[in-house]
Symmetry: C2
Subunit: 149 residues, 2 copies
DNA sequence: CTTCAATCATTGACTTTCTCAACTATTTGG
DNA sequence: CCAAATAGTTGAGAAAGTCAATGATTGAAG
């Protein structure tokens, strides 16, 4: 027997995209974090490792802007990853204030494994959507996530 | 002059729906919370007031389930709203363990005003989307937010 | 009818995440 | 060269999330 599957779904709130965004984000991150737990990663720390492991060589400021995090949170995330030998802080020749974050070989190795888990998490989280719908969703979310100034 | 508008957009991460969900949710909630600040509300507390003000008479357990919050968080939210005379805890005749949350007249009044702000916030957050796209997004998000078991 | 397990709301403790202000080193523009 | 802005860091405090325990009540089983 299935759940009552909420009568509250009939409320206006249930049709509010901002609310849906919050709830969808909550459920997906729970699923993904569970999968990442064995690696001692969360979606947050993985995001950093991800960008560091793909040759972008982001500065911390870029990470902070792109991930929507306070610079101090980025510091903490990188401290952790660096302490575990997964990323390095490299000097930026063009600006000595700035640090460029690069994954170590160990970091790239872990990234690979973590990514397969994350993909699996995505498959369960977005199981109700067809491939086309996922693409559509991705496109729409991109506009919302990066639309404003 | 516009922003660099991130080279990191080229990363795989930028195409990951879970990441986009997180970022979209972050930006929309910042916008909405800013609009709600004059009412001393946040999207969280408004959600409760919203459901309480529309005749659903949700129990706290229902709120907790539907909003995806721990029951203790719901207690705190309602304590606050009740302390400000915006909602009441009513006994549930069918189950005396449970409390039914109902907005007071003052609560409904405030809700009205807050809702127009929230709609305005939505208009700025989703400005990049057509009406059709918003509907599509809402539909897709509903599946994700309420899909799994 | 009684007992036992489950459920609802609550409390309290604790961790994580968020937000902000201050500070140092460095860069940029005048 | 100087002043203002920027990158990263630190630290503090607020908000949010997690978890276990408790009292009251319910429902199911015997």
């Amino acid at each position: 027997m299935t759940e009552p599957l909420h009568r509250l779904l009939g409320s206006d709130l249930a049709a509010d995209p901002a609310f849906l965004l919050a709830r969808a984000r909550a459920v997906t991150s729970v699923v993904a974090n569970a999968r990442l737990a064995p690696f001692q990663l969360k979606v947050r720390s993985l995001s950093v490792l991800w960008l560091a492991g793909q040759g972008f060589g982001p500065s911390q400021r870029e990470l902070s802007e792109f991930l929507g995090l306070d610079p101090s949170q980025v510091v903490a995330l990188i401290d952790d990853l660096q302490g575990r030998g997964l990323v390095e802080r490299r000097p930026d020749d063009r600006d000595r204030r700035s640090r460029i974050i690069v994954a170590t070989p160990a970091g790239r190795e872990l990234l690979e494994q973590a990514l397969t888990e994350v993909r699996a998490a995505g498959d369960t989280s977005f199981a109700g959507l067809t491939d086309d719908e996922r693409k559509t969703l991705t496109g729409l979310l991109t506009k919302v996530a990066f639309g404003g100034r």
